[in-house]
């Protein structure tokens, strides 16, 4: 029996199915790669990104939200690596969100983890022409590295200081101090009896002082009563004297006021009174001095030749040209 197959229909069916499969594949691919569902951000990392490759996952608080689109050295700063992240547009990347490099367990594969930031912070705005930059936080390895470096540095300094403290000289001094302390302790032990005696004496002295203070208190009371008596006596006897003194003081004050007013009027301006007289006196003194000199000269000549007073016999020493 020979089947009747319509090869034309089979061919058409195959062609139609193939076309539909291809169309479905294109539709599926286009749907998944729809760029309109993603936004691009830049991240600059200043540490090694070993283990991170293009297409690596980008997680937002542990949720896959995109992938690393490209990796390159920052053309403006060779110390940084520039990453372009492709992240779903629904992802709430905020201005205080930070990107951190993390690793999957011990496999060495890395991904980018984005921390959400504060929910009240504004969303980060990015565009295809001007990509927003997500700030980075140091990775765990970097933090560990920095912390370990700091710890090692401090440990090294501590060891240096310890070495300096535990030098041979200090060790010897410490040993010497311990020996001295030992000797001192032994001596204190040997003086134990004397210390006990001293303490007993101190207690006795304290008791004596208490007794003495009681006696001083009695004496003070006696002195106080004597002073009260003295005060009463003095007030009784001095009262008339003080009254007389007060009256005298008032009279003296009145007299002083009169003298002061006279002084202010210039009645006793001794300076102006004396000035004129002083000037005249000075002139007289100058003239007296001249007269005194002349008299000295005359007396000197008489002393040299007393007969000149009567006979004028001596010849004076004439000056040049006389």
């Amino acid at each position: 029996m020979e089947s009747k197959v319509n090869y034309t229909l089979v061919g058409l069916f195959v062609l139609l199915l193939s076309t539909m499969l291809i169309a479905f594949a294109f539709w599926l691919g286009k749907h998944n790669d729809d760029e309109s569902h993603y936004r691009h951000y830049k991240v600059y990392i200043s540490e090694s990104i070993s283990g991170l490759a293009p297409e690596a996952a980008v997680k937002f608080n542990g949720v896959d939200v995109g992938l690393v689109e490209s990796i390159q050295i920052n053309p403006n700063n060779s110390e940084e690596v520039e990453l372009v992240l492709k992240i779903q547009k629904e992802t709430p990347i905020r201005t205080d969100s930070t990107a951190t490099l993390k690793f999957f367990g011990i496999t060495g594969l890395a991904f980018i983890e984005i921390n959400g930031g504060n929910k009240n912070s504004p969303l980060m705005i990015t565009s295809d022409t001007d990509l927003a930059v997500i700030p980075t936080a140091p990775s765990l390895i970097k933090r560990l590295d920095e912390t370990l470096s700091t710890v090692i540095t401090k440990l090294s300094k501590t060891l240096d200081h310890t070495n300096a403290i535990m030098s041979d000289e200090n060790t010897q001094n410490f040993s010497q101090t311990l020996k001295t302390l030992k000797i001192l302790t032994q001596r204190i032990n040997s003086y134990q009896d004397e210390i006990d005696l001293l303490l007993k004496n101190s207690i006795q002295t304290g008791q004596n002082i208490d007794q003495a203070m009681l006696k001083v208190g009695d004496s003070a009371s006696s002195v106080k009563s004597s002073m009260d008596t003295f005060k009463v006596t003095m007030s009784e006897r001095l009262s008339p004297t003080m009254k007389s003194w007060e009256a005298t003081s008032k009279k003296t004050n009145a007299l002083l006021e009169k003298i002061e007013s006279s002084m202010e009027r210039g009645d006793y301006d001794l300076k102006s009174i004396a000035t004129q007289s002083t000037v005249e006196l000075n002139e007289r003194l100058v003239q007296s001095r001249i007269l005194q000199n002349e008299m000295e000269i005359t007396l000197k000549s008489l002393r040299e030749s007393p007969s000149d007073l009567l006979f004028k016999q001596s010849k004076p020493n004439l000056g040049p040209g006389e």
Binding site: I290, N317, G319
Partner: protein, 203 residues
């Protein structure tokens, strides 16, 4: 007898009165008039000139001459009319008044309270003779400008003036000392002018 003794005694006593001596010349130093003004700007202050103090021998009207550096003598028939200090004071006062360096000038006897005081010490005022038969007028005087309010010295200067004498007698000495006094006045005014301008003194 009494008359005889009295006559003899009076005759002996009057012998001295009959001694004949040449007449004594008295000299003075007149203030000079300086025709041109040395001072361009007057100081608005009152200056009092204190009397010049001198060593004892110069506080008389004797006209002293000096031979060499230590022999001193006085002319017998020549005298000064006033003491050297008084003559110098008069000359300097007159020159200062003539130059109008200070707005007011008062003498030492004035009652006016002065802004400045000029003191002086006269150490030499002699007609000095040298061994080489030359002679000169020689003045050595020190001036001090004082602020009487603070009792502090503003400036001090010693002037030693020497002027040659035209003749080796008292008259030549008078001429030389006259010239020296005038020169002293000029130098003193110049010094006062400079001292006031250079000092920080304020009225």
């Amino acid at each position: 007898m009494k008359f005889f003794i009295t006559t003899i005694s009076i005759s002996v006593l009057l012998t001295g009165c009959f001694t004949m001596h040449p007449s004594t010349h008295e000299y003075t130093i007149l203030p000079s008039y300086i025709p041109s003004k040395q001072v361009t700007q007057s100081v608005n202050a009152t200056l009092k000139l204190s009397s010049t103090r001198s060593i004892t021998s110069l506080a008389s009207t004797q006209f002293y001459y000096l031979k060499g550096t230590s022999t001193i003598g006085a002319y017998v028939y020549s005298r000064w009319a006033d003491t050297p200090s008084a003559m110098i004071d008069r000359a300097v006062y007159s020159s200062l008044q003539n130059q109008e360096l200070f707005s007011t000038l008062v003498s030492s006897t004035s009652n006016v309270t002065a802004d400045l005081l000029l003191e002086s010490d006269l150490n030499a005022f002699y007609h000095r003779f040298h061994d080489d038969s030359t002679s000169e007028g020689f003045i050595d005087i020190t001036y001090r400008l004082i602020n009487p309010k603070t009792k502090t010295t503003i400036a001090t200067k010693r002037f030693i003036i020497i002027e040659p004498s035209p003749s080796k007698d008292a008259k030549g000495g008078v001429i030389a000392l006259n010239q020296a006094t005038h020169e002293l006045s000029n130098q003193c005014i110049a010094w006062l002018n400079t001292s006031i301008k250079d000092s920080t003194w304020k009225k």
